[in-house]
Amino acid sequence: MAEKVIYAMYDDDDVLKDGAKKLVAKGVKVADVFSPFPIHGIDPIIGVKHTRLGIMAFLYGLTGTALATLGMNYFMIHDWPMNIGGKPSMTYLDNVLAFIPITFEFTVLCAAHGMAITYLLLNKTLPGMPATNPDPRTTDDKFVMELRLSDNGQFSEGELMTMLNETGVIEIDQKDIH
């Protein structure tokens, strides 16, 4: 089903933020904002929840710690214990000090790469993906607010346009998204 989308373009991040605040106060739902850089303070206004990627990073890190511990315990203590410099590998605890550097490195490795991969997948930013910003200028110096008519059933298209025009918008574009 085709859906009508309004793209309102601004030439300043503060103007957009001010406009978003006024629109939201009137009950308008802003679907998304496209900007060339992070606009600080826009997320609570348009209702973007803070990401939970940090928790994921922690879990990936824990996985790394666990894998490194299990791995070195198996290699060095159980599978093939070696007597190195008169310091035999009898128990994991006896040798744990020597294992700390690699446990640490492996934790960082898993946390960083796990989070980076999750981030790319969540954003659907992968090699070869098409760009979805409505206007090429939004990666340079323009800021676009996306409003969907279906989200704002209580307003007519004309009402939305009038409200947008009061917020210092420089261009308005409409598109049908399928």
């Binding site: 030439d11 300043d12 503060d14 103007v15 933020k17 001010d18 998304d32 904002v33 496209f34 900007s35 060339p36 850089f37 992070p38 606009i39 600080h40 303070g41 826009i42 997320d43 973007v48 803070h50 990627l53 940090g54 890190g61 791995g71 070195m72 290699f75 060095m76 599978d79 093939w80 070696m82 190195i84 310091k87 020597a98 550097p101 690699i102 490195e105 492996f106 960082v108 490795l109 960083a112 790469h113 989070m115 980076a116 981030y119 954003n123 659907k124 930013t125 992968l126 090699p127 993906m129 098409p130 760009a131 979805t132 910003n133 090429p136 939004t138 990666t139 340079d140 110096d141 210092g168």
Partner: protein
């Protein structure tokens, strides 16, 4: 808007708009390369290829082509390795540690410093690999199930810790760098007209569109990566120093090594950043973004880390005497007065004396002086590793084994070759990649741009008409930019 204190120098000089920042950074990429670029690239490529030739000769013949002997089994190869890893410490330090400390001046330099880091770590990684002599069995350093019975790598060995540290450091730095690059590639993608570059940047930008939710994730990912990269930076050179510190060779068996190596790494890394950026800002006309204040900040880092290194040298000397161990005392006495006295004093002059000159404000704000000192520092840091490695082992336990190290032309060729390759990579980076972090610079324009700080920037017509309604609402200092 959140404003910085007025007494802080602006980070972006003159009046810039968002569009002008894009223009200034993208122009050198879109224009034809200047002739100077081709000349420098040609020179670097020739030197790099010579190095590659030397490496092939080395692999074909064996590491006997180096100037090593029975006593001195480690010399230039590991010196160069430690030197390059050290240089590779500035980038991640700038982008990770300075991000955690909310130092906004990092934004002008982090991109190129990280690129430099990655290329330096490439060069560093080459040395242990070629030192194996049989490059093709390099994967034996990984704990892989194999057909030699239950034969695992030795997890007690600092050399294996190095494998994990360096590869983690390289790959995490690469990811950190690339995640920051994606939005900037998108900017270039949306600007270029020619079909082939458009396609290339389109692939490189991964379809980035700049949605609010994506930026929210972007900022958190940057912060968390900075958080994990910070201890990583410190761990990597600590582990490199364990290669020596966990041995029993007088002169290497030193508990002070980890912090002293880390300080030395930051010291030489910043010096390399200075060398490259002082040329780059001029050649690419980025003087408004990387200016005297940035150079001064970096010089202060060089001064502080240089002082730490100097203190460590003197501590080592004192402890070698205070320990009462005559072998230890001899190792250090021999360093300063033995046959390698010239290397020792070159190191002392370059690393201890020269950074102290940065106490003078006039000197640390002088670009020419900075450029000279940055090269002096890197020469000194190379000598530091040479002194630690070669002078400690050239006097063996048996005087009949005493020896000297004379580098062969292959030693020299491989070393100079890596410098050439490093510049090949860096010049390619400067030609095709956005050398400043565009999206990050735009976030500090209104708080740290000169025209915004002294209120000469034109007020946006919308606010001129309606008053600045959003005042005081966005002091979101909890954000990571």
């Amino acid at each position: 808007m959140h404003k910085e204190a007025a007494i802080r120098e602006p980070l972006i000089l003159g009046h810039k708009t968002y569009h002008e920042i894009t223009e200034d950074v993208c122009k050198p990429i879109e224009d034809k390369a200047p002739r100077m670029w081709y000349i420098l690239f040609g020179i670097a490529l020739v030197i790099g290829l010579y190095g590659v030739g030397c490496i092939f000769y080395l692999l074909g013949t064996g590491i006997g082509v180096w100037g090593l002997n029975k006593t001195i089994g480690w010399a230039w190869d590991i010196t160069n390795f430690v030197w390059w890893v050290g240089i590779g410490h500035a980038g991640t330090l700038i982008s990770a540690v300075l991000l955690l400390f909310r130092q906004k001046w990092r934004m002008a330099i982090n991109r190129s410093a990280e690129a430099m880091t990655i290329f330096a770590v490439f060069m560093a990684g080459l040395f242990p690999l070629i030192h194996m002599g049989r490059l093709w069995v390099g994967y034996w350093t990984l704990p892989l199930p194999n057909h030699f019975g239950s034969l695992w790598v030795n997890f007690n060995s600092p050399l294996l810790w190095d494998v994990f540290a360096i590869s983690t450091y390289l790959s995490v730095s690469l990811v950190f760098w690339y995640i920051g690059l994606i939005p900037d590639f998108a900017t270039i993608r949306d600007r270029v007209k020619k079909p082939i570059p458009k396609k290339m940047y389109s692939i490189l930008s991964f379809g980035w569109s700049g949605r609010a939710k994506h930026w929210n994730r972007f900022e958190l990912v940057s912060l968390v990566l900075a958080g994990v990269a910070t201890p990583l930076v410190f761990s990597v050179h600590s582990i490199v120093s364990f290669d020596f510190a966990t041995s029993v060779i007088p002169g290497w068996h030193t508990t002070i090594f980890p912090p002293y190596f880390v300080a030395g790494a930051v010291f030489s890394g910043f010096a390399m950043v200075q060398t490259l950026l002082l040329v780059m800002r001029k050649a690419m006309k980025l003087e408004a973004y990387i200016h005297t204040k940035h150079v001064e900040y970096m010089n202060i880092v060089i001064m502080v880390t240089g002082s730490i290194v100097g203190t460590a040298y003197i501590t080592e000397l004192f402890i070698s005497w205070y320990s009462g161990v005559e072998y230890e005392a001899y190792a250090f006495f021999n360093r300063a007065t033995g046959p390698y006295w010239w290397a020792y004093w070159a190191m002392m002059t370059c690393n201890v004396v020269s950074p102290q000159l940065m106490w003078f404000k006039k000197l640390r704000r002088s670009l020419l002086f900075t450029f000279i000192i940055s090269i002096v520092v890197n020469i000194g840091m190379w000598f530091e590793r040479y002194v630690i490695i070669v002078t400690s082992i050239h006097r063996d336990y048996l005087p009949s084994s005493w020896s000297m190290h004379y580098p062969s032309h292959i030693d020299l060729g491989v070393y100079v070759g890596t410098i050439g390759l490093f510049f090949v990579f860096f010049l390619l980076f400067a030609r095709f990649f956005p050398v400043l972090a565009l999206n990050e610079l735009k976030t500090i324009l209104k708080s740290s741009g000169e025209s915004y700080k002294n209120d000469t920037a034109p007020v946006h017509p919308y606010f001129a008409k309606n008053g600045h309604g959003s005042h005081g609402h966005d002091d979101h200092d909890t954000h990571n930019h």
